[in-house]
């Protein structure tokens, strides 16, 4: 080990380093270090010529340790690891010393000091490379199957994409009908399709495929395992209606049901029966019996033989290599009294309003009264000064304006008044705003600390605003209906995410690793996120992210095996006396208790461990080491840094 033949390259970085660090002096002061066989200075270590020279040096001299003293490892660690690999040396025998950011740039006012610091940094790197060992990635098998959780547009589109790539998919939807929120939208901007059209297209595509298993009324109730081998337990609640059924009879059965409950598909503005479907031709087309509200009176059973109360809840176990989360969002529910919500009858939310437009023909009637003047109040539940929802929900300006235009074209004599905090119809959606202005919609604007006020006076609803577009004049409008343009919030029941320990951001939506560069991966290996469960998105943005999540999930399972980074924690069995402190400290749930020769010890799941090192300092027996960052290696480096 001490006889390692080490090659050291010291980079000028053009002048970035050599302007402040005396590169030749660094060279001279390390030439006689133990094991150093060769030291060279170079104008640009990363240059092609130097890389070639390094490969030749390693091969010719049979070097078994290499150090490059240059820039940050973020820039060129991988470059020089690749150089050693090309020369036939295991890449973990390469150590990087950062003398640009840490010496030259940091101490440009003190050339002597910068040079001394550089010498210490290079000596520390040499100390580490002396102890470096060849390491090899862990290979684990990865089951070629993906579970997609959530059957909205994002989940369905991702499932189709995975299926196209030849990957078996289990598509798990909690509701009895697929389509999620989009099924509840009617006309959509910009394609002028309806939400139903979009959902139907996706559903028709899905049922054609043999490699997609669609489970409705199903929830993941337990999860174990890790990337490559997630074991999911799925609870499937029955529809209580047999697969083959006579449709006409079923309609009669629905009519016969004596139970009426608020219809949450229509955001509670209408009622439905305990046996129901949301709209004709909805998918799957069979209705369902809602057992929470069913009184078991048996009226439907008398009419239709397809009704089958004996159907039982099923538990399905599956194993997949990756999980794709597309669990969507909830619409913000205003609190009682927020802009008169609940307290004033004709104050509704935007999703409710969309259902009202859909459910009316010719005349817009709500609660028996014809609606002519509509006031829209924007940013309800979004961009709050106080509260969790500081974010902009992105879709609502466009959605509200589109609904307003749609209302004007569907019904006569409609006046739209928009009480905004500044319109954000970004991108192509701006044309909608222009169209609505030209159609005579009136826009008023206020600041966040001075919101509009909704009041009911003698059965008339009035909305007041200090309009900043009219020099903060107090302006009022009499409205027949007030629409609260509510934003997106995370699902109220996100229990499925806690099964996987998925981290959430400050806004309580699921968090990606890097918003820009790794937008669909999570810190839990093998689990990807897409759609509005990650944050407010419109359909286009949801589908975009769904496709990239599908590609990412597929990359985990496509080869049938996975190479994992070897730099992870390791338990020294003889010292471990299992106290559990490491398991508690581990943010990835990678440490478990195992029995080993009659002794309880900790064991690291190498597929899950990320080598973060959180377990090391909490171990009272000092029984954990991090591969490539062992105590011995770190101590030698400290000695070198603190030495002469």
């Amino acid at each position: 080990m001490m006889n390692k033949k080490i090659g050291v390259y010291i980079c000028h970085c053009g002048g970035n380093i050599s302007d402040y660090v005396d590169v030749e002096k660094v060279k001279h002061s390390i030439e006689n270090e133990d094991g150093v066989f060769l030291v060279k200075t170079t104008m640009f270590a990363c240059g092609d010529a130097n890389q070639k020279e390094m490969v030749d040096d390693i091969k010719k001299n049979e070097l078994d340790g290499v150090v490059v003293a240059s820039c940050s490892p973020k820039l060129h660690l991988i470059t020089f690891r690749a150089v050693t690999e090309r020369a036939g040396l295991n890449k973990y025998n390469y150590i990087h010393a950062n003398i640009r950011e840490q010496a030259s740039w940091a101490h440009s006012d003190d050339k002597v000091g910068a040079t001394i610091t550089a010498i210490h940094l290079v000596k520390a790197a040499i100390a580490k490379v002396r102890l470096a060992k060849a390491l090899y990635p862990y290979i684990i098998t990865s089951k070629k199957a993906v579970a997609v959780i959530g059957g909205g547009v994002a989940g369905m589109r991702a499932a189709i994409e995975l299926s196209d790539m030849g990957c078996p998919v289990t598509l798990i939807e909690r509701e009895h009908f697929i389509g999620g929120r989009v099924a509840q939208w009617n006309l959509l901007f910009t394609t002028k399709e309806t939400g139903k059209d979009v959902v139907t297209k996706l559903y028709d595509n899905i049922v054609r495929r043999d490699n997609i298993t669609l489970l409705t009324g199903s929830e993941v109730v337990a999860s174990s395992g890790n990337i490559g081998a997630f074991k999911l337990k799925i609870k499937k609640t029955p529809r209580f209606i047999k697969e083959e059924c006579h449709k006409g009879k079923l309609q009669e059965a629905i009519a016969a049901c004596p139970v009426t409950v608020a219809d949450d598909f229509n955001f509670n503005i209408t009622d439905r029966k305990a046996i129901y479907h949301n709209f004709p031709s909805e998918y799957p087309q069979e209705p369902v019996i809602d057992m929470k509200n069913c009184t078991r009176c048996g009226e439907c059973e008398k009419i239709c033989e397809s009704v089958d109360f004996t159907e039982k809840e099923k538990i399905i176990d599956i194993e997949v290599g990756s999980v794709l989360m597309a669990t969507g969002f909830d619409s913000y529910t205003p609190s009682e009294g927020e802009f008169g919500y609940v307290q004033i009858e004709n104050v509704v939310t935007l999703p409710q309003f969309k259902r009202i437009i859909e459910l009316n023909d010719k005349k817009l009637i709500f609660r028996g009264k014809e609606i002519k003047n509509i006031a829209y109040i924007y940013c309800v539940g979004s961009r709050q000064i106080e509260g969790d929802n500081k974010y902009c929900s992105r879709y609502c300006c466009t959605s509200a304006i589109f609904a307003a235009i749609h209302t004007k074209s569907k019904f006569e004599n409609i006046n739209n008044y928009h009480f905004t905090r500044g319109i954000r119809t970004y991108g192509k959606q701006e044309v909608l705003y222009a169209e609505s202005l030209k159609k005579g919609d009136i826009y008023l604007q206020s600041y966040e600390d001075d919101p509009p006020v909704v009041n009911q006076v003698n059965n008339k609803i009035k909305v007041w605003i200090n309009d900043i577009l009219t020099a903060k004049r107090e302006i009022s409008v009499e409205a027949d209906l007030v629409v609260l343009v509510t934003g997106m919030v995370p699902r109220a029941d996100n229990s499925v995410a806690s099964l996987f320990k998925l981290p959430k951001g400050r806004d309580k939506f699921f968090n990606e690793i890097h918003m820009k560069l790794r937008p669909v991966e999570t810190v839990i290996d093998g689990i990807t996120i897409c759609g509005a469960c990650q944050g407010p998105k419109n359909i286009m943005e949801s589908v975009n992210s769904a496709l990239s999540a599908a590609a990412k999930s597929f990359s985990y399972v496509s080869k049938g095996e996975l190479e994992l980074e070897p730099i992870i924690a390791k338990i020294e069995k003889e010292f471990c006396t299992w106290c559990g402190a490491c398991a508690e400290a581990c943010p990835f749930d990678a440490i478990k208790l195992v029995k080993d020769e009659k002794k309880d010890i900790a064991a690291i799941n190498s597929s899950v461990c990320k080598g973060c090192g959180m377990c090391l300092p909490v171990c009272p027996a000092d029984a954990i080491d991090l591969v490539a960052y062992s105590n011995k290696e770190i101590e030698c480096m400290i000695d070198a840094l603190a030495g002469e």
Partner: protein, 347 residues
């Protein structure tokens, strides 16, 4: 507090405004306007009032009159909301609001009604001439007396009450206190602007248009003076005759250019012409031209066998004096100057 009146937009569109709803309040129009000041900023504010239908605010505002329509705002509007034309429409609407007889509004809104009024007056003049058996002497004497009478009557019955209404909307109703002395000290401003439209000079690239307009106003007033006071058509004084010729030439030459520009739609100001705009420039042209021809016919002796020329002139004159002056675009001459005057005394 003010209530929104969404119906106002429709009303205003009958006075020529269009697409002003497209405004998204960027304020470019106000920024490029060379007449807009921090205290009196327009046209965005006027657009906003129009969109919201705040009639009282528009009625008590002088801003529509402080704009001289260079069209820069419309050129620079990213939404093509045409603020310039909106200001023009507001001036038409205000003219109708100031008019106590409400005839202005009727004529602005309805072209058939306007044409009927013109035809009716032509028939009256023709009927009168037939009744007088086309006797040049009695008819020309009547014409001269009509001019005098029309000036006095229109002034006393229509224009003066309307100016008082304007004063009511702008000063009295909003309860603005102005010391009496200011009304006198501001008079110079009124006269200066009435004859020079000095303010329009501050519009960018507007020097030639201003000069033409200035010459036309002087020519028109001069011709009025020559025919009414100096009795040009009956005068034997060579100086008066030549003076009359010159003034009538000025009037019809300048108006030819005005008509031609509206016809070619050159520049923002001439792009959108309402019937009231066409009639104003065409009748002014016909006034100058027919006066010139009448005097020419007199001087060449042609008038004896071609008395129709005078009857034609009289028809134009009657239509001008009874429709365009009291209820048409002519009034902008008064309202603009009084707007500057009121703005001055409001301080």
């Amino acid at each position: 507090m003010a209530d929104i009146n969404p119906g106002f937009g429709k009303e205003l569109k009958k006075f020529g405004a269009f697409d002003f709803n497209a405004c998204y309040n960027c304020g470019n129009c106000t920024a490029v306007c060379s007449l807009s000041t921090e205290e009196d900023s327009f046209p965005r504010e006027m657009l906003r009032f129009s969109v919201l239908g705040l009639k009282d605010d528009i009625k008590s505002s002088l801003k529509p009159w402080l704009c001289y329509y260079c069209g820069e705002c419309s050129t620079h509007c990213p939404q093509t909301a045409n603020p310039g034309e909106l200001m023009m429409s507001l001036r038409r609407w205000l003219t109708a609001e100031y008019d106590w007889t409400k005839l202005s509004g009727l004529l602005y809104r309805s072209l058939p009604l306007t044409i009927s009024a013109f035809i009716l007056l032509a028939i009256v003049v023709l009927g009168f001439s037939i009744n007088e058996k086309f006797n040049p002497e009695t008819i020309m004497l009547f014409g001269h007396n009509f001019e005098l009478l029309a000036i006095v009557m229109v002034l006393v019955l229509i224009l003066l009450p309307n100016i008082i209404r304007m004063w009511w909307f702008i000063i009295l109703k909003p309860k603005i206190k102005i010391p009496l002395s200011k009304y006198f000290t501001g008079l110079w401003e009124l006269i200066l602007h009435m004859f020079t439209q000095k303010r329009a000079l501050d519009c960018d690239d507007n020097k030639f248009r201003w000069f033409e307009h200035f010459v036309l106003v002087l020519g028109y007033l001069g011709l009025l003076f020559t025919t009414v006071v100096l009795d040009w058509f009956s005068s034997d004084n060579l100086v008066v005759i030549v003076f009359g010729y010159l003034l009538s030439i000025v009037v019809f030459i300048v108006t030819i250019d005005f008509v031609w520009r509206r016809f070619r739609k050159s520049g923002e100001i001439s792009k959108y012409s309402r019937p009231s705009d066409w009639m104003f420039v065409i009748w002014l042209f016909l006034m100058g031209f027919s006066a010139f021809m009448v005097r020419l016919f007199i001087d060449t002796g042609l008038i004896v066998n071609n008395f129709w020329m005078y009857i034609f002139h009289l028809t134009i004159l009657v239509q001008w004096a009874l429709i365009i002056v009291p209820f048409g675009k002519w009034t902008h001459f008064l309202y603009r100057s009084f707007a500057v005057y009121f703005a001055k005394i409001k301080g």
